[in-house]
C-alpha cells in the first residue's frame, strides 16, 4: 500500500507539471495561475502568427533531424567498430567517446568556438549541428555499449555459417537486433538537440533556435504562448514515439502475411 502511494506520488511529480502546462496553454487569459478563467485557442493562434517563432522552430527541427540522423550513423559505426576492438584500444575509444557527457556545456561551447575559429568556419546551422553531434554522441555510445554488451557475436558467426556474407549478415542479423536501441537513441538525440541551449549559444552566430527564442521571449515577459509551444513540442514527441512503435507492429504483421502467400 505504502509502495503504491509512493509510486503514485512519483508519477504525479513527473506528470503534473506537464498537465498544468497543457491546461494553461488553453487558458483564455494571460494569467498563469488558478483560478482557471475559461478555455481558448488564442495562444495557439498567436503562435502561428509569430513569424520569428516559426523560423526558430523550423531551424530547431531541421537541426534536430540532421543531428539525430548523423549521430545515429556515426554512433552505430563507431560502436560496432568498438565491439570488435580488443583490450586497451577498446578502453581508450570508450573513454574518448563517452567523456564529453561529463564536460560542462560552457567548456564544450568555448572550445568548439575556438576550434571553429581556428578553421575559419563561419557560424550558422552547420556549426550548431556539429555542436549537437558532439553533445549527443556519448548518449548514443552509452546506449549502444549497453546493448552490445548483451550482443552475442555468435549470431554473426551463425549467419556466416548459414552462407551469408558480412553485408547480408549486417542487414539481416546485426541491424535488426540493434535497431530498437538505435531508434530510441535517435529519439533521445532529437530531443537533446531540440532543447540544447548553452553550447548552441556559443556557435549559433546569427541563427536562432527555439530554446534561444523562448529564452529571449521570457526575458521580456512570461506569456502563455510558451505553454502553447511546449504543448506542441510535447505532442510532437509523443507522436514520434507512437509512430515508431506502430511501424514495428505493422512490419511484423506484413512479414507474416507475406509468408502465408508463399
Amino acid at each position: 500500500m505504502i509502495l503504491r502511494i509512493f509510486v503514485a506520488l512519483v508519477i504525479s511529480f513527473l506528470v503534473a507539471p506537464l498537465l498544468i502546462i497543457v491546461l494553461f496553454s488553453f487558458h483564455a487569459t494571460a494569467s498563469l495561475s488558478f483560478p482557471f478563467q475559461g478555455l481558448s485557442l488564442r495562444w495557439y493562434a498567436a503562435l502561428f502568427e509569430d513569424a520569428q517563432l516559426g523560423d526558430a522552430m523550423l531551424t530547431s527541427l531541421l537541426v534536430a533531424l540532421v543531428t539525430a540522423v548523423a549521430t545515429l550513423v556515426l554512433g552505430m559505426c563507431a560502436s560496432l567498430a568498438w565491439l570488435r576492438l580488443g583490450g586497451r584500444a577498446r578502453a581508450a575509444v570508450e573513454a574518448v567517446t563517452i567523456t564529453p557527457i561529463a564536460l560542462p556545456g560552457l567548456f564544450i561551447g568555448v572550445s568548439l568556438l575556438i576550434a571553429l575559429a581556428l578553421f575559419q568556419v563561419s557560424l550558422g546551422k552547420v556549426t550548431i549541428i556539429i555542436a549537437h553531434i558532439v553533445i549527443s554522441m556519448p548518449i548514443v555510445m552509452i546506449a549502444m555499449r549497453a546493448r552490445l554488451a548483451l550482443f552475442d557475436t555468435m549470431l554473426e558467426e551463425a549467419s556466416r555459417d548459414l552462407g551469408a556474407n558480412s553485408l547480408y549478415t549486417f542487414r539481416k542479423v546485426t541491424l535488426p537486433l540493434i535497431m530498437p536501441t538505435l531508434v530510441s537513441a535517435a529519439v533521445l538525440t532529437f530531443a537533446i538537440s531540440l532543447d540544447e541551449f548553452i553550447v548552441t549559444g556559443f556557435v549559433s552566430g546569427t541563427e536562432t533556435t527555439l530554446p534561444m527564442f523562448i529564452w529571449s521571449m521570457m526575458r521580456r515577459t512570461v506569456t502563455p504562448m510558451i505553454n502553447a509551444i511546449s504543448t506542441v513540442i510535447l505532442i510532437a514527441t509523443l507522436a514520434i514515439l507512437l509512430i515508431s512503435s506502430h511501424i514495428e507492429r505493422t512490419r511484423r504483421a506484413q512479414s507474416l502475411r507475406a509468408r502465408e502467400s508463399e
Partner: protein, 363 residues
C-alpha cells in the same frame, strides 16, 4: 583407411593462438555418413578443432580437406558445412520458421522451394505447430531442435555440433540423443559432435576421437575404447575405473606382470611399454569385479566391504584392501553379494582380460 568415402581429411594439423599451441599433429579421417565425436575435457582443443573445420579459425600448419577440396583460406560461408552452436545462437528477432528458412533465403531459392523444405524439416524435428513462435518463447529442448533444423535444412555434407546438449537437463538430454540418432538416420548427414560428456559420446558415436592437451589420444569405436583404453587418460576419462598402484615384475612363466603392496598379482594388457621394476597402475572397472571365482575370474584379493551406494538398478560397494587402499565394485540389483561389514573379509575375483596396466603418471 580408404579415402574414397572420406568426407573430411585432416592431416598433421596444428593451431597456435599467439604463443599458445592449442592443437598439434592432428590426423583424422571422417567417413561419409558416420557420427564422429570429439571428446575430451575442457581445454583439450575439441572446440578449436571444430572451429577449424567450420572455418571460423585458420589452421596454422598442416592440411584440411573437405570433400576432397583444400579448405585453406575458404571462409565459413563457402564451406559445405553447417553448425549447431553451443548456446544455439538462434536469431532472436526471427520466429522459428524464419530461423530455419535463413540459410535458404541467403541462397535465394524460389519461395515455393523454401516453403516446402522448411515445412519438411519442421516436420522432422516435430516443431510444425510452433513455427510462428519466437525463440524466447521456446524451451531449451525446442531451441535445440530449431538449431538442428536450421542447420540441416541446408543439406550440408557435414553437420557440426558444439556441445549441443550442455544447456539441457538430464531427462531431455536422453530424449534429444535418441532424437539425433533418428534424425541422423533420416538425413544420412555426416555428424561431427563435440562434447565433454562420455555418456553422450558413447550413446551417439560410430567412432570417438579422444583429445587431451591438443593431441589425439585415441580414435576408436565406443565399445573398443571402453574395453581397451590405450592410455591411463583414456581409462580414467571414459567411464569409471579402479586404479591400483603396482610394481612390474617378471612372472614365473616368463611373462610380464605386476604386484600390489598387498601381494595381489595383476596380469593383463600393457598398451604402453613397461619394464621390470617400473611403478605402474593396474586398472579394473568396477563392474569387472566379482565375489565368485570362475574359469575366467581367476585372480583375486581379500577386501572388506565398508559401504553401499544404492542407485536403483545397480549398487556401488566401497571396499578396502588390507593396506587401506579403497576401490569400488558395481553389482547389478538381485546379484548375491556379501553384507556390508567392516570386519568380515571377502574374496574379490577378476579376469586378467579386464585388466590394463599403465605406466604411473609422473606427476
Amino acid at each position: 583407411m580408404t579415402t574414397a568415402d572420406s568426407i573430411i581429411s585432416i592431416a598433421n594439423v596444428g593451431k597456435k593462438f599467439g604463443t599458445y599451441q592449442a592443437l598439434h599433429g592432428i590426423d583424422l579421417e571422417v567417413r561419409k555418413g558416420e557420427i564422429v565425436t570429439l571428446l575430451g575435457p575442457s581445454g583439450c582443443g575439441k572446440t578449436t578443432l571444430m572451429r577449424l573445420i567450420a572455418g571460423f579459425e585458420d589452421v596454422t600448419s598442416g592440411n584440411l580437406r573437405i570433400g576432397g577440396k583444400d579448405m585453406v583460406g575458404v571462409p565459413p560461408e563457402k564451406r559445405p558445412i553447417n553448425m549447431v552452436f553451443q548456446r544455439y545462437a538462434l536469431f532472436p528477432h526471427l520466429d522459428v520458421y524464419e530461423n530455419v528458412a535463413y540459410g535458404l533465403r541467403v541462397r535465394r531459392l524460389p519461395a515455393a522451394e523454401i516453403e516446402s523444405k522448411v515445412r519438411r524439416m519442421l516436420d522432422i524435428v516435430q516443431l510444425s505447430q510452433l513455427s510462428q513462435r519466437y525463440i524466447n518463447e521456446l524451451s531449451g529442448g525446442q531451441c535445440q531442435r530449431v538449431a538442428l533444423a536450421r542447420a540441416l535444412v541446408n543439406e550440408p555434407q557435414v553437420l557440426l555440433m558444439d556441445e549441443p546438449l550442455a544447456a539441457l537437463d538430464l531427462k531431455i538430454r536422453q530424449t534429444m540423443l535418441e532424437e539425433m540418432k533418428r534424425i541422423h538416420a533420416a538425413t544420412g548427414t555426416t555428424f561431427i559432435y563435440v562434447t565433454h560428456d562420455q555418456d553422450e559420446a558413447m550413446i551417439l558415436s560410430d567412432r570417438i576421437v579422444l583429445l587431451n592437451k591438443g593431441e589425439v589420444v585415441q580414435i576408436d569405436e565406443p565399445h573398443q575404447m571402453y574395453a581397451e583404453p590405450k592410455s591411463l587418460f583414456a581409462a580414467k576419462f571414459l567411464g569409471e575405473t579402479n586404479l591400483f598402484p603396482v610394481r612390474m615384475v617378471a612372472m614365473a612363466d616368463g611373462s610380464s606382470g605386476s604386484v600390489h603392496a598387498t601381494g595381489a598379482v595383476f596380469t593383463g594388457k600393457q598398451p604402453q611399454p613397461l619394464k621390470e621394476g617400473d611403478s605402474a597402475l593396474a586398472s579394473i572397472r568396477p563392474e569387472a569385479l566379482y565375489f565368485a571365482a570362475s574359469e575366467r575370474h581367476r585372480q583375486s584379493f581379500k577386501a572388506r566391504i565398508t559401504d553401499e551406494l544404492f542407485i536403483g538398478s545397480r549398487s556401488f560397494l566401497t571396499a578396502q584392501l588390507t593396506n587401506g587402499d579403497r576401490f569400488r565394485i558395481q553389482i547389478q540389483r538381485g546379484t548375491a553379494c556379501p553384507p556390508v561389514s567392516p570386519e568380515a573379509q571377502v574374496d574379490v575375483f577378476w579376469s586378467p582380460e579386464d585388466v590394463s596396466i599403465y605406466p604411473a603418471a609422473l606427476t
